[in-house]
């Protein structure tokens, strides 16, 4: 890196940026963690989870879709942003049925680990207990819509990586849900294959490959730490 490389400031750390960078992509390349759920370097941004909200020169923006600007002062670790992230996570938890003790994604779930890192101990809001029917029609992939956080990673992976357009987002407001492009609306009648990237990109326990649950011992799961009892 030469002295003239453009940088911006993230919580006091200089972050090098390249043409086309967003705040989040530049920070991720530098190994600096900005909490996020709906962003992946594999696909385009969607800015739906709002967890990556930072203050760019004092203005709240979604770091995943906001272009990085040389010389900008970006703040991520402030007390009010930490509280906002906690409330966003609690909203996602009460909006679905996130019963981690019975979910095979537990320990490998991005929503769960973000909540743990945010220090979430309780739900704060009233639970909504949605009653969306499970779709087990696909031979190799299960869809549990009550865990879906509408991050649209599967939508974008199917569009941009698999070239299949199996998924879309439909409905309005709290009734917004993941739609499946098949005559019956069921996963088993769609073009989805378990080998598709879209079948594995789900950050939570909504889209799950079948028959591989609970295979990894507690203590060795993706987000387990040495504190994790096993």
């Amino acid at each position: 890196m030469s002295a003239v490389d453009p940088t911006f400031d993230l919580d006091g750390q200089p972050v090098a940026l390249q043409p086309g960078d967003t705040i989040l992509s530049a920070a991720a390349r530098a190994g600096l963690d900005i909490p996020h759920l709906c962003w992946s370097e594999e696909v385009s941004g969607s800015a739906s989870c709002r967890l990556c909200t930072v203050l760019a020169d004092g203005r709240p923006v979604a770091a995943c879709v906001t272009p990085a600007v040389a010389g900008q002062k970006v703040e991520c670790r402030t007390a009010s942003l930490a509280t906002q992230r906690l409330r966003l996570l609690q909203m996602l938890f009460v909006e679905g049925n996130h019963f981690c003790p019975g979910c095979e994604k537990s320990g490998n779930c991005v929503l769960q680990v973000q909540a743990e890192r945010a220090g979430m101990t309780e739900l704060h809001f009233e639970v909504l207990n949605p009653e969306r029917p499970v779709d087990a029609s696909h031979p190799d992939v299960l869809f549990e819509p009550n865990r879906c956080i509408l991050c649209q990673l599967c939508v974008r992976a199917s569009d941009e990586l698999d070239g299949k357009r199996v998924f879309a987002i439909g409905g309005h407001g709290i009734a917004t849900r993941l739609l499946i492009d098949s005559p019956s609306g069921r996963l088993g009648d769609s073009a989805l294959s378990v080998d598709d990237r879209a079948a594995h990109i789900c950050p939570v326990g909504a889209l799950l490959p079948k028959r591989v649950g609970f295979a990894v011992p507690i203590g060795q799961r993706r987000f387990d730490t040495e504190d994790t009892r096993g």
Binding site: F99, P101, Q112, T121, N129
Partner: protein, 180 residues
Amino acid sequence: MNASSPSPRKLRVATVSLAGCFGCHMSLLDIDERLFDLVERVDFDRSPLTDIKTVGEHDRCDIGLVEGGLCNAENVEVLRAFRARCTVLVAVGACAITGGLPALRNHLDVGDIMQSVYGRVPDDPELPLPLNRVLPIHEVVRIDHALPGCPPPADAFWQLLQDLMAGRTPVPAPGLIRYD
């Protein structure tokens, strides 16, 4: 304990399992030998581990530990008594905090469940009526703290109790926040 100051009075702790599995109580007991330190510092009021029938009947309790969500009318009555008689009320475990796995019944009709399990709805007034839905306890009473986990690790119980005994606001160490 500080030798220069007199021993503080013992704290009074009540515990209860509502729509719980008693697993949180077992995890509390998993503090093992530290239980001997604990009983030096606290007296237990109503708890599945004592014979006291009514919470805080003679003395107000300092701490109430509530395991389990709310699945029937008796749960609600007991929870309200705990809230009224405990200074600090702690929601312990996934069930108390979220409803937990028992709340998976919430998408079913409770009458249909009774019908399919018993063939009829048991109707003796001695029995508490089930609620329409399983509720987390914060939807019925205010809670002061929560200890997540199914069950919470023994070290999380120990840290919470030590913090409360020392008069500190409990802030669980990062590794002790788990939901599974």
